[in-house]
Amino acid sequence: MAQITLIEAVTQALAWEMAHDPSVVVLGEDVGVNGGVFRATLGLIDRFGAERVIDTPLDETTIAGLTVGLAAQGMKPVAEAQFEGFIYGMLEQIICHAARLRNRTRGRMSVPAVWRAPWGGGIRAPEHHSEANEAIFTNVPGLRVVLPSSPARAYGLLLASIRDPDPVIFFEPKRIYRQYKEEVPDDGEALPLDVCFVLRDGSDVTLVTWGAQVKETLEAADALAAEGVRAEVIDVATLKPLDFDTIHESVRKTGRCVIVHEAPRTAGFGAEIAARLAEHAMYDLVAPVERVTGYDTHIPLFRLEMKYLPSVERIVAAARRTLAAS
């Protein structure tokens, strides 16, 4: 069985589903002959033809609106936003139509579509290519928001997203597109879209994160282990709807929680998790919830971007504060 990267897992999932469901089409800018600027759609046009691997005009509005129309008429489109910073031109179609067509027609029409976008900072990219904008979407009723952090989870969650009857925003952490390889059986097995993944068991502190930050968070857990601190690491992966039960169960055990994300802090998705802990887990906590996040600034151009993104040191320091508090 082949070892593949996260981005190869994306390609593998797209190919599996296109081979097994003729209603699945891929559309976006440069997704055809070029195979996508990150090569997520590499080889698909040769296998499935230009009718199903569609190079659109260079216009995000076009991609998003076509996707709504295709999905409403029985296709299963997988749209690509070339970068998450370009997705804003798609927002009206996603928010006003994709997310609410089922509700406003009382189920007569729906939009079973996926919007894929490379997401997040840390690859020395130009301006507007490094955003962590998931919280814009987690506030929209009717959407699912998915953010895998490993090749296996990218494969299983993308399959589940394409098969889901509702619109899914599928963010791919581009910093770890090619970080490592793992075996991902090409068996068409989807992963559930409504559970968090516990990546490491621990009893002293719960580290909650998603996306590329899973890498730093696991390294922080290693550093804490060297100090004798057993950190539990949770990859939220499916942000909306949120599986809060898994997080709550962990915090019941540890009494401490550090939330790590690279998006700006204020009203970032970590705020929702912290609020739920305040509502439901106040008496389980022995220390204040900590957030290790991007600052409430624009992510800087790349000379400074690694100083913006949460680091292993910041995560370890936050975990130590929760341990010192009790």
Partner: protein, 355 residues
């Protein structure tokens, strides 16, 4: 210097404002006067419905309503030219087209009366619902047309947009992709001269709105949108072309919004009484009636009897609307997702307890 490209926009009219023939090469359907009478009757019905809906809003029995006074010929032509399995993507006042396709007045009232069930209408299940975000529906039609092309189905998508909406990115994107991909889409710009208070001339420096399709590589035509025969002939031509794989078309229907934009608007604030009076002389029903009466295909007696029949029908629809009970509070949850996630199950239960 050599010329890189040239274009011209033809203008189509068969019936002038007085109902006289402007040209003699009538299309085949227009030689069937029974069909013209039927469409005229439908226009009258829409007009009677429209007045009733405004009265309902004025008496507090309906929310904000967007009337269609003056647009009847354009919309009936669109609705009657389409086949059942074609897809219609409207903005929010194309009632004549929708009634022709099976939408019931009671459903339309339900929507403007604040109830999502109006969008689950009796028209074709693949027709899009009323679309308030201006212009966005045009790309839904383009996406539908792309689906038909991929599946090799001989179906056509039709979208409508106003003169104001023709300034929007989504509309221009829809035209562009239709040309780029040779999609079976017919885009109708219903130029009623006013985008709420902003006149047509303030939207663009282009001489016609039809020519907006030229840059996309579409065939374009300007039509007298108050002339049912011309509008229907244009739609028949455009739909046939699209259905046979010859690509999309952009039609500008020149009409006039004789009413306020919506019941929340007061058009006296921004346009002259004389302009509206002049527009009434060009309105679509008057000329069709004159034409049919000159053919001895319609009489004043038939008109009176038909209007009474329409009033009875509309009253029955209004009663059905007024008797429709509000949805239970949990209805706001039930179609958010195909299957309700646990968070929403809990919130739904809270809402049910509160009632």
């Amino acid at each position: 210097m050599p010329t890189a490209a040239t274009f011209e926009i033809e203008y189509l009219q068969f019936l002038d404002a007085d109902g006289s023939l402007a040209r003699n090469d009538l299309p085949a359907f227009a030689r069937d006067t029974r069909q013209l009478v039927k469409l005229y009757q439908e226009m009258l019905m829409v007009r009677i419905f429209d007045a009733k809906a405004i009265a309902l809003q004025r008496t507090g029995k309906l929310g904000t309503y967007a009337p269609c006074l003056g647009h009847e010929a354009t919309y009936l032509a669109i609705g009657s030219a389409m086949q059942e399995d074609d897809v219609l993507a409207v903005s929010y006042r194309e009632y004549g087209a929708q009634f022709h396709r099976g939408v019931k007045p009671r459903e339309l009232l339900l929507y403007w009366g604040g109830d999502e069930r109006g969008n689950d209408f009796s028209g074709p299940a693949h027709d899009f619902a009323w679309c308030v975000p201006i212009g966005t529906q045009c790309l839904h039609a383009a996406g539908s047309a792309l689906a038909f092309k991929i599946r090799k189905e001989p179906r056509v998508a039709v979208c409508t947009i106003g003169d104001g909406g023709s300034s929007k990115a989504d509309f221009n994107s829809a035209l562009n992709v239709t040309g780029a991909m040779q999609l079976p889409l017919v885009a109708v710009i219903v130029n009623n001269q006013w985008a709420i208070s902003v006149p047509r001339g303030a939207q663009t420096g282009a001489k016609t709105l039809a020519q907006k399709g030229i840059a996309a590589g579409l065939e374009c035509l300007q039509v007298d949108g108050n002339d049912l025969i011309a509008m229907r002939a244009a739609m028949d031509y455009a739909i046939k072309r699209a259905r046979h794989g010859h690509g999309g078309m952009c039609i500008e229907a020149v009409t006039y919004r004789l009413s306020d934009h919506t019941t929340a608007d007061d058009a006296r604030r921004y346009r002259s009484e004389q302009e509206v009076k002049d527009a009434w002389a060009r309105e679509p029903l008057r000329r069709m009636k004159a034409y049919l009466m000159a053919l001895n295909a319609w009489t004043e007696e038939e008109e009176v009897a038909w209007k009474e029949q329409c009033t009875r029908y509309v009253d029955a629809e209004v009663n059905a609307y007024l008797e429709t009970k509000s949805q239970p509070v949990e209805a706001m949850f039930d179609y958010t997702y195909a299957e309700l996630p646990p968070d929403l199950v809990a919130q739904r239960a809270e809402a049910v307890v509160r009632g």
